[in-house]
Each structure stands twice: as C-alpha cells, then as structure tokens.
Symmetry: C2
Subunit: 535 residues, 2 copies
C-alpha cells in the first residue's frame, strides 16, 4: 500500500466510521451470532499475494459488523460505557504512525513528557490533591486498564510492605538469614483486601502477585465499605495470624456504583497505624474506574480532598466515561518511588545518560510491561477538543439520563423496585412478580424475593435476546439473601432522553409479557389442579 493508496483507503475508512456513528442507532446493539460464526465466513490462511483494500474493507461490514456488540450505541446500557470519540481516533492515527516503543525517555521524549503534562492537567480537572501531581513526590501514568493498574499497585504494595518489614527487623538486630526466614513466612501471610463489591480485579491481582485475598462483606442495600468493617476485618485477620498489606476502596462499585465511606476508612486506618507504629502501612488504593469521571463536575469535586490522608494510589479510566477510546486508564500515586522501587530493573541496553541522571521519567518502571504506546496523544486531543465545558456537558448528560430513568422506575412501583441507591447514572432494580401473585404470597418475603429473582432474570435475558437494548443482569449478595437485579447505565456520547424512555418501554413490554406468561402458567396450574380434583 503506497502513499496514494493509503490516502484513498484511509478516506474510505473514515467515511465508513462516520457512517457507522451516524447510523449506529439503527443497528442491533447486541450481536446475535453463534459461537464459531466467523470461521465459516473467512477463508483459511494468509493469501500468497497481497489483497486490495477495497476487498478487505468489504469484509468489515459483511463479516465483522455482525459479530460486533455496539458499545457506542445509545442502546448500549450494559456494564459501564466505553466511550470513543473522533478526537480520540485522531490520536490513535498519530500514535500508530509514530509507533515508538517508548520504554524510556530517550526513545521519544515527547511520549513521556506529554503523558506527564496531560496527567497533571487531568489531575487538576478532577480536583485531585497536589499530593498526586508530578510536581511533588507523586504523579500519574497511563495504564491499559484499571485491572492492570491494580496489579501494579498490589505488587508495589507487597514489595513496600516486605522492604519496610526488613528495615524494621534490621533495627531489631536480626541478621540476614533470620530476616530472609521471616520474609518467607511473611509472604505466606500477606492479605490483599477489598469489599465484596470491589471489582474482581483485586482478586486477580492477588493471584498474580502470589498473595492471599479476602473480601470484606458490606451490608445489603448499602453496599459500601466503612471504617468499622475495615477495623473488624483487620482484627479478624490478625487473630488468625494473617497480615493485611493492601486495601482496595471504591468510588462507584461495579455492581451498584456505591461509594465507600472514605472518611471513616481513613480514620480507622489512622487509628490502626498509630496503634501499630512498627508495622508497615497498609497500601490503600481508590478504584474509581468508571465514576472517577464525575469528579470533573463541581458537585463531586470535594470528594478527593480526603484521599491524601489514607490513599497511596487512585485510578480512573478516561476510556470509560470520558470520551477517550480504550485504552487510557489514569493511575496516580502519592509516592512514585514506591512503584519504581518495586518495578525498576535497568539492563545495559536500556541505560543512557538521561535515565542515569534521574532527570527524566522512565514510565516503564511505573508499569508491568516494558514498551508503551503514545496514549497521551488521544487524551490530549480529547481534552483540548471538548474543553472543560464539553467534557462536563457530556458527563452531566449521562447523569441527567440516569435521573430520568430513576423517575421512570419510581413511577411504576408495581413493576420495579430499586435495590440500590441510584448513582453516577446507574440504576439497579429488580422486577416484581405480577400483582396477583404478590397478593397471593401475602407477607411471604422469602418467596416474593425468589419469584422476583426468577422474573428479573427472565426479563433481562429476554430483553438481551431481543437485542434492541443491551442491559446487564447481576446478582447482589449471596445465599438466601441474593438479589437478582438489572443494571442500566447509559453514557454513550449519542444517548438522548428518548433513548432511555425507549429503553424503559422495551423493558416494560417484556415485563408485561413475562407477567402474562406467569399468570397463564399459574392459571393452567390451577386448572390442572381443579381438573385433577374433579377426576
């Protein structure tokens, strides 16, 4: 493909992308292909001679599109949004063109320096205290995902805990062999903590780091972690001879967008650390993967002010709700040295005068992989193109949509019950059994809940099977208390109030149909019973 062929091909691709966005509302949001669909459509192997772009491009619509679930569609109300945007796509064009595996500063100073600048700008945008800016001892780094960020900080937390324990033992006069023995025992006792509502990536990070992981159960309906629960858990661990070294707290949990009680957690950790001066500090990480974007609004901007009192790190994804195409996860730490101490190894072929001088940032030491893409470009383009006003308007629109949906749910209490406080544009609700059934069940709450769970699951599955909108069924709590619920959250740039109204109507139609079936089933059961009695 030479320059002029590329120009033509790229123009055709851009036209196709524009057409995709302009008409995305018309596509079935959830792909309905069957497993293995693509293998049947694509000839095996790589062609001997190159193919023309026209032929390749045709396959996008014919073969790829049917297998896409359209995350940019206003009908995508599942999981969390994963916004893309035109300025973001422009960023990736340049990033691909420059392709510089910028594993150190010299490999392309602009890649490192723009990242530092953009992340400081974003820190200001979300009102993140200066403790996390690069101008002090902290700073930000772009990671691929919030889960990758958690692996990074869990490893740093583990190694910081071990290093400080070693220092402590040395001051107590232990010799090297004794210290090594203790480290070996310590490793087996380290526990990473998160609430039962924290994202599963804390568990995965603990697996990767080779440490234990325990969850702290939160109260049903509230779903938020607080200082008392943390203190109880720490006491419980210590009784069992285990050692907490890391804690994930969350701003906007995945199941319900609950927010942990930062003030009481900060107080609890402070009390614990004051009472245990020789124990290294527990690393606390604020996971705000989705909801962090809301901090750009004045309404939420007070939230981070308390974080420096207890949080060693914080992460949120610009690639969720902030218009920057995946991937762009912003990890901030209070002390960059903690990451570098754990992750830096500098072999001969990566050494140069700039790295050695310590004047520059080598972000490879702030992350798991070695090489890095020029991801700050897209974040730079997005923030400049939208401006603070544009970004705020986008986030506010989703919040307004969430409120609208809450009102719709609350306006139909016969059908719906909110099972968590709506937050950050997310509504989590369950579907009631038909009124006739509810009446019959009287006050039997357990049976009511069981029937509601069944119906909710049935409704969610049927809505998704229809594929006009895509919603997420989830389960809150466990055992007898478990609630099956539906999560609805819309954050696509193209979403309008009418889309949420339409989504509500689609769900309600399905509920009506499912209710009718339930009643028919019930009537036929009654009829069968009557007939049986008549025999």
């Amino acid at each position: 493909m030479d320059s002029s062929q590329f120009r033509q091909a790229a123009h055709a691709a851009i036209d196709q992308v524009i057409d995709y966005y302009d008409n995305i509302r018309d596509r079935r949001v959830l792909s309905d292909v069957q497993p293995g669909y693509l293998r049947e459509l694509i000839p095996p192997g790589i062609p001997e001679t190159g193919e023309k772009w026209e032929d390749i491009q045709q396959d996008i619509e014919a073969k790829i599109m049917p297998g896409l679930t359209h995350w940019q569609s206003p009908n995508f109300l599942a999981f969390f949004p994963a916004n893309s945007s035109y300025p973001g796509i422009l960023g990736d064009i340049y990033s691909g063109a420059f392709t510089c595996a910028a594993f150190n500063w010299q490999c392309s100073p602009a890649v490192t320096e723009l990242e530092t600048i953009v992340l400081d700008n974003v820190a200001k945008l979300i009102n993140l205290p200066e403790a996390y800016h690069s101008t002090g001892e902290g700073g930000g780094v772009i990671q691929g995902t919030a889960s990758e960020a958690i692996v990074t900080v869990v490893v740093a937390a583990r190694d910081r805990y071990i290093a400080r324990s070693k220092e402590q033992w040395a001051t107590e006069g232990l010799n090297d062999d004794e210290i090594e023995d203790r480290v070996c025992t310590l490793r087996g006792k380290l526990v990473a903590l998160g609430s039962d509502q924290a994202h599963s990536s804390t568990k995965k990070a603990a697996i990767i780091a080779g440490v234990r992981c325990e969850t702290i159960e939160t109260a049903m309906g509230d779903y938020s972690l607080n200082g008392e629960l943390v203190t109880k858990k720490i006491e419980n661990l210590e009784k069992r001879g285990l050692i907490p070294f890391y804690l994930t707290v969350t701003l906007g949990t995945t199941p319900t967008c609950a927010t942990d009680d930062f003030a009481s957690i900060s107080a609890a950790l402070s009390t614990y650390h004051t009472a245990n001066p020789t124990k290294p500090k527990i690393w606390t990480h604020v996971d705000a993967a989705y909801a962090g974007a809301a901090l750009i609004l004045p309404e939420y901007s007070h939230i981070p002010s308390i974080w420096p009192t207890f949080a060693d790190s914080f992460d949120f994804n610009m690639h969720k709700w902030l218009l920057t195409n995946f991937d762009c996860s912003c990890l901030y730490v209070k002390r960059r040295r903690d990451l570098i101490d754990a992750l830096s190894i500098t072999p001969a072929y990566l050494r140069n005068e700039y790295s050695d001088s310590g004047l520059v940032t080598d972000y490879r030491d702030w992350q798991i992989p070695l090489g890095r893409r020029f991801r700050s470009l897209k974040a730079w383009f997005v923030t400049r193109s939208f401006g603070v006003e544009g970004l705020r308007a986008h986030v506010q629109k989703a919040l307004d949509g969430g409120e609208l949906f809450t009102k719709l749910l609350e306006g139909d209490k016969e059908r719906y019950e909110l099972v968590a406080k709506p937050a950050f544009a997310l509504n989590v609700f369950r579907v009631n059994p038909p009124p006739a059934v509810a009446k019959e069940l009287g006050g039997n709450k357990k049976e009511f809940a069981r029937r509601s769970n069944e119906i909710t699951k049935k409704v969610a599955d049927r809505v998704n099977k229809e594929g006009k909108i895509f919603i997420t069924p989830t389960v809150l709590g466990k055992g007898d208390e478990a609630i099956t619920a539906i999560r609805v959250v819309g954050g696509s740039p193209s979403i309008q109030p009418k889309d949420l109204e339409s989504a509500f109507n689609i769900i309600t139609e399905v509920v009506t149909a499912v209710w009718e079936e339930e009643l028919k089933d019930k009537q036929s059961i009654i009829r069968d019973q009557v007939e049986l009695q008549a025999v």
Copy 2:
C-alpha cells in the same frame, strides 16, 4: 467535533502522516530536546472551551515532532525495529471507532473470533507446530508486549507447579494443613531461570510473581544457552534447596540475537523430568520477540519443529519486525488450560450463557488485564495487504541489509571487530584502538580491550549525539571480561542498502575523528613527558 469536522480533520491528519513517512529520511532520527522541553511549549491546563482541530494539529509539528525519536526512519538502527505500516494504521482507526472493551466473547464475538483465526493463520505462517494452534489444546492470544506475555506465563507456570505439587502431596497422604505449610515453603524456593542474555523481562516477571530469579551464564562470544548449562544450573539450585519451575529460552537474544540450543535443552529437560517423575515439569518459554518474524522464511521454518518436546509457550512480536504497529505480541501456549487455571475468576456481572457453556474463548482469562482492544484487526489487515510474499520480502530485505553491513565491517578489520555472530540483521561489533596504539600495546590483550571499550563507547555516544543515525551501545559480559559494543540493526520498511552504506560511513567518519583525537592526546602526553624530563 461533528462528522463533517471529523472528515476534514481526519483527512488533514492522514495527509500529515503521509508527509511524515514520505520525508522521514530528512528528519534527525534521534530527538535532541532537553528534559522538560515540552512543559515550556504547552500552556498549562485544559482550555475551558474546545479548541479547533487546525490549532491542535499545528502543535504536532511544532511541539511534538521535536521530541520524537523516529522509529520508522531508515536511520533508526537502535534496539530492534518497531515497524508500523499503513494497513496497521487502518486497523487502529476501526479498533478505536468500535471501542469495545471485549473482556468476554459476548462483548463482541468478532473481537475474540478474529483473534483466534488470525493467530492460527500466523501460526501457520511461521510454521509453528499444531500443538500451539487453537484447534488442539493450545492456542494463541494477542498480548501488549513480550514482557507482558512473560509475566503471564511465569504466573501460570508458578501456579501450575504449585497445583501439581499439591496433587502429588495429596497422593502421598498429606492432609490439608500439611499441604498448606509445604506450599508456603515451596513459594519461597521457586526459581525462574533465564540466561544472562535473556531479556530483562524474565527478571521483572519474577519480581511481579514474587518468586526468585537466577541467570545462567553463557560463554562469551557464543552467548547461547545449551542443555549442559541448564543441567548444571538445575543441579546447583537443587543442592541449595531451591526449585526451578520456569525457564526462558531465546530465539534471537536482545544483546546479540544469539539463539539458544533448543535440541540440547530439550534433551536435558527430558532427562531431568524422567529422572524426577514426581516433580512437576519446568515450564519452558521460547522468547522470540524480535527474531520470531524470520520464521516466515523457508530458510528458518524448520526451527519450531522441536519446540513441542519442551516448550509450553512461545511469543513473538508482530509489532517489531512484521509491519504491525505497536502493540501486537503473539503468545502461543501448548495447553490453554494452564493459563485459564491460573488467571480465571468469573464474577456474576461477567457471567453469561456463552461463557458458562465453555463453547467460546474468553481471552481475559489468558492475560493480566481484564479489558482488551480489537488488535487482531490490524494484524488481519497487515497480513492480507502484504500477503505471504510481501511479508517475506520485507523480512528478507532486512536480512540482506544485515549481510551488507557485515561485509562492510569485515572489509575494515583495522577499525572493526565483530564480537558476536551476525544474526537476524543484527551486527554487534567493537571499534579497535588506532593502529599505532594497537602496535604499541603489543600483545597486551587486556589493555587492548580496555582501550577498545573506551573508544567504542565514545564512538557510539558521538554518533548518537550527531543524530544522523541512532545506534545502541551495549555491554556484553561483566567484570574484566566486559566488552563494550555497538549494535546496528535496520528493519524499517523504508530502509535501503544506501542507508546502511551511509550509516557505515557515518560511523567510520566518527571513528576516524576519535582515532585522531586519541593520537593527539597520546602525542601531547608524550610531549608533556618529554618536556617534563627536560626540566
């Protein structure tokens, strides 16, 4: 930015990219900005209202370009190539537009299925035995980098070793508590291995996984690992009560592109495992990050045939030498279950009937992060656009360039000495001291080497300071034996024989200048001494 503004902006961006590639030869390859250059050029903060694309785009040339090291330039002869290509850029346009954080099959079946198909195609292209294809128990997955792939397999290797040890102890009749105690001790003794020439990412992976790492020293000049060295190291570890569980072997090491002796390593491991039937197997990983691309040529295609006898996994980067813009690292495993057993955790909100049925691949369980980009698109576009012929021609061109450079070095034995066998387009050489100095040193090899090291370093630094070409100084071996050398490898799509000839001349001019300075210094020292004696 609306559709029509995006069309205009994208066309302007594409024009700029084309201009960048067409004239890349004229740019200074190595950026010469000083640390902090960008902070002075960019106004702080995010603008309140959005900016126009024209204004943003102007900053690319004015502010970003000066801080770029141009990896696509034919004058980039450092590290390893990191090829970009037009079809690859097209892939990223669509990937960004579709932005689907495809953490499971349902999130966009096409993302998963195309990846499986493309990786099977690439497996065939590089003649990878069927053991690693998805049609059996193995399969491929796209990772961000070869270093990320190594973290992934080290974690899987560690957990497989522990799981099999537990099974063994259970058959021996140990109870759960006893087994837990043993696991705790085992973790502290596990050792990941790689040669002193293996990429530093094995060491980093071991840090992340929380296990020990030791290196196996290879012979100077040969730089390749063999079965005897592996056996000795294992024996040494076992004498010290340590347990080898993982080994990185390399096709094309970073310092010299040496290739480990797979046949003897396979035999050594087989002997060890046969002699120790109750010990779990050592996971062996073939790291071919750069040189793996050469396997597409018939000349090299016999190499992988032996891997199934010993290698659990293999990885190479399409983003290095195979025209696919960063990132696209292809990791293949012989038993996908090993990855999934270690890395899978499936919470409620990620569960669906397809995942549960086991009919589909959820690649999140094959990697560290949760979310994934649609990276197979660019690999698909690249392989189809170039075809097998085009890809082979590209790799062959770099090999031819490497041979040309070898001849140039060998044609000037007065100045240059190859310090490793040239391989995969890489030449590693040192610069001799001036002939007069060499003569004076007579047979003093140690002093000759010391002077050569000094001069080689000086030459490399000065060549890079001039910035017409970019080469990598490196150090082979350690202590008294250490050799300072220069690595030259050209793999840019735009590279021509004239570029390598020109690079050789640039280096030779610098050598000539450095030699003259050496002689002047020497003469002035002699003059000083003469004058001193005269006083």
